[in-house]
């Protein structure tokens, strides 16, 4: 197995080099010059060149590329942000992931739990009325834009609810964990975005899990179990769920890396200072160090979790061989 892991890691080195290359090229080659962003309003002819030098943009592309690679390799996150002078990329990183995880982790857990339950109910009643209704609801839910959920969710969850209840239950936007303690802070600022993210993801996940379970239910062991005289419920919830766990866990594992970037839109709309919001801000500010570092870190997590998924998969399912 170790052999496999090492091989996978080695194989991913060119991929990683490619990711950084792609990203840096996208930002630099043929695009508008970011140095203009940092010119004062009454610039002199020499200023542009000076800024390019200070930002290191005057160096050839490949030099910049290897320079950044070296920074990533040596875990040097001390570069100063271009958009927010006086802050290093590392500092921004270390504060930004907290709000993000506070939204994404509960969101993932709640979505997985609810949608597995719903999928079980659906699969249990396969072809019957309940199943149809649930699946129609899932398709309908998938066909509405994420943004509509956010806009409407904010209107009813924050504006209207406050009118009805009389006090502020969910904040319109923002993020403040200090004022009233962690729990109430989370409920005020994070709960509504989490609820919205759950509603949005439900349709997709329920359909997926149902498909997994329906497929499992046609397998031989199910027939055997039934033949043995096990109750239908027991077959569904014990035998099937156990076997369906593999695709379920794989699905959850593959979403793990995305927890770091968070839901860009939710963070943007609810003004939560997480990774996604930061990244958007950095793109608007042409803050290359931040864009590059955030994406580079995401890519590492992504690759590692891919490998981990495969390894876990093999550990759980002896039929899978690592090659």
């Amino acid at each position: 197995m170790w052999n496999y892991i090492v091989r996978r890691l080695l194989y991913n080195i060119p991929v990683y080099l490619g990711i950084i290359l792609l990203l840096m090229a996208l930002l630099r080659v043929g695009a508008a010059d970011p140095a203009y962003t940092f010119l004062g309003k009454n610039a002199e002819p020499g200023d542009l060149e000076r800024i390019r030098q200070q930002l290191g943009l005057d160096k050839p592309f490949l030099v910049q590329y290897f320079h950044f690679l070296w920074d990533v390799l040596t875990l040097n996150f001390e570069q100063e942000s271009w958009g927010r002078p006086g802050r290093t990329v590392g500092e921004m990183l270390s504060t930004a992931y907290i709000p993000t995880l506070m939204i994404t982790v509960p969101g993932l857990m709640i979505t997985a739990t609810i949608s597995i339950c719903v999928a079980l109910i659906s699969a249990f009643n396969r072809g019957r009325f309940a199943d149809r209704i649930l699946m129609v609801a899932a398709v309908v839910g998938m066909s509405v834009s994420f943004l509509v959920y956010i806009i409407v969710g904010q209107y009813y969850g924050a504006f209207q609810l406050k009118e009805w209840v009389g006090t502020e239950v969910f904040a319109i936007e923002g993020f403040d964990m200090e004022k009233n303690g962690f729990i109430s802070g989370w409920l005020t600022y994070c709960a509504l975005p989490v609820i919205i993210s759950v509603i949005v993801a439900m349709g997709y996940d329920t359909r997926f899990y149902r498909a997994v379970m329906v497929e499992e239910s046609t397998k031989d062991y199910m027939v055997t179990a039934k033949a043995k005289g096990a109750g239908r419920r027991k077959v569904m919830f014990v035998h099937m769920l156990k076997n369906a766990m593999i695709p379920i866990i794989t699905r959850i594992m593959t979403t793990l890396p995305f927890l770091i970037v968070g839901s860009v839109l939710l963070e943007y709309y609810f003004n939560i200072p997480g990774m996604g919001n930061r990244l958007l801000g950095a793109i608007a500010d042409k803050d290359f160090p931040v864009i590059q570092t955030f994406t580079a870190i995401f890519a590492v997590v992504f690759i590692l979790s891919n490998i981990l998924t495969d390894v876990l998969y093999a550990l759980v399912d002896p039929r899978v061989r690592l090659q």
Partner: protein, 433 residues
């Protein structure tokens, strides 16, 4: 000759599904409207910018009386300004006031002025009446509370304010007020030339879903956006499917370094979160000459969307490659490229269709998100832009624009969702998700 897959069992199964056929019909209708806009210019960009009425009029149902009062104010004020311009400017200014088909009446200008004067007087009476009632009720309640010994300032403000609001509501709902407002609206209506026939129908259509904050027709904008959605969907889904499938098929079929290259390419592209990738690509086009076209959107979507079909087709071709007929064709001595095009690619056609359908949905949804961030469609309306514009309206409780864009989009997307499901069931029953 019909392509092979149309004669296949899967195709028969697909067409047996009634709901799938129905969704195809819906998509067909959208396609027709979209092409009518695209090729025959049924609705131009100018149409989508045109003012067709006062701002923020709702889709259906009664408007609040206050809003009606404001609309009267708006209509009178603009005509008043036009009539008060320098004599030589009056005619063109009045011509500009036309709300699409609805033009200002050709009555003599003096008559119009006189009517407006009359309307102002009755408007001001109504408005004053409202103010008076409000302040009276407020002061009375305040005095009453103070007398009864309520100290809390906030409390007094609140109770007295509620009392004032209640009496205003009472006044506004009173028969007298309603009928004077109706009279006033009649005067405003008379300022315009009466509409008949087709132009009346057309004007009704324009107003059918209400107007946005600039008084533009929501219906026209939503219909125009069909064009944009189809344009983006067709171009990006088609290109990505063709490009991705060919790449995947070639990689799997030729193997060796080509396959390594293909796998490397899609691993690289898929390791950047797709939304971030989309945003970075669209952002880099800002300030270039392509900026105001749809080109950046096409490029961004194609660069992200090709990964899916590439991966799936590659997997499928790896299986097909081992099949006997391909082996046989190789043994007979057909060229590799010939086999690829003639025997391998056609057998992945169903996957391409499924992917096209899925990517189409992806394109429409991503357009909304990009436009919302100000990076998508420019210089013309789209559902994304409508949803973006509706965000501040929704906060103030105004839903028509959001509703129209959502419903138009919803119908198209759900049709494609059903279509993809049906395609999957028919051609690829074992495939999960």
């Amino acid at each position: 000759m019909k392509p092979k897959f149309l004669r296949s069992r899967g195709a028969k199964k697909f067409f047996r599904s009634r709901i799938a056929t129905f969704s195809l019909v819906v998509i067909g209708i959208y396609a027709m409207i979209g092409s009518a806009v695209l090729f025959f210019d049924v609705i131009s960009v100018d149409d989508t910018l045109q003012r067709v009425g006062p701002d923020s009029t709702p889709m259906f149902g009664e408007q609040s009386l206050e809003k009606r009062l404001r609309d009267v104010d708006f209509q009178l004020a603009r005509l008043d300004t036009a009539l008060n311009k320098k004599p030589e400017d009056v005619e063109p200014a009045i011509a500009e006031l036309a709300l699409a088909e609805r033009t200002i009446s050709t009555k003599p200008r003096e008559e119009l002025s006189a009517e407006i004067e009359r309307a102002w007087v009755s408007y001001d009476t109504l408005a004053e009446q409202k103010d008076e009632v409000e302040f009276e009720a407020f002061d009375a309640k305040k005095a009453e509370l103070k007398e009864s010994g309520v100290e809390d300032r906030e409390e007094i403000q609140r109770i007295a304010g509620n009392a004032a609001d209640a009496s205003v509501a009472e006044l506004v709902a009173s028969e007298e007020f309603v009928s004077s407002l109706a009279q006033l609206e009649q005067i405003v209506d008379d300022l315009y030339a009466p509409l008949t026939g087709w132009s009346a129908k057309l004007y009704d259509l324009r107003r059918s879903m209400g107007t946005d904050r600039q008084g533009r027709s929501i219906a026209i904008r939503a219909i125009f956006s069909i064009k944009i959605a189809l344009q983006i969907g067709v171009v990006t889904a088609l290109l990505s499917v063709i490009f991705g499938s060919l790449l995947g098929a070639a990689g799997a079929f030729y193997g060796g370094w080509i396959d390594h290259l293909v796998v490397w390419l899609y691993s690289t592209f898929s390791s950047i979160p797709s939304l971030i990738f989309l945003i970075v690509i669209s952002y880099r086009f800002i300030g270039t000459e392509f900026e105001s076209s749809l080109f950046p959107v096409y490029v961004a979507f194609c660069l992200t969307f090709w990964i899916g079909p590439c991966r799936i087709v590659r997997g499928e071709v790896l299986k097909i490659k081992e099949l006997e007929y391909v082996q046989a064709a190789t043994a007979v001595g057909f060229g590799k490229f010939y086999i690829l095009l003639k025997h391998v690619v056609p057998n992945t056609m169903h996957l391409m269709f499924i992917n096209f359908s899925l990517l189409f949905i992806g394109a429409i949804k991503s357009e909304v998100i990009l436009s919302f961030l100000g990076l998508g469609v420019k210089n013309q309306p789209s559902w994304g832009i409508m949803i973006r514009d509706s965000a501040p309206e929704v906060v103030n409780g105004f839903f028509p624009q959001l509703g129209a864009a959502t419903v138009f989009m919803f119908i198209l997307v759900i049709s494609f969702n059903i279509l993809s499901d049906a395609l999957q069931d028919a051609f690829d029953p074992k495939h999960v998700s």
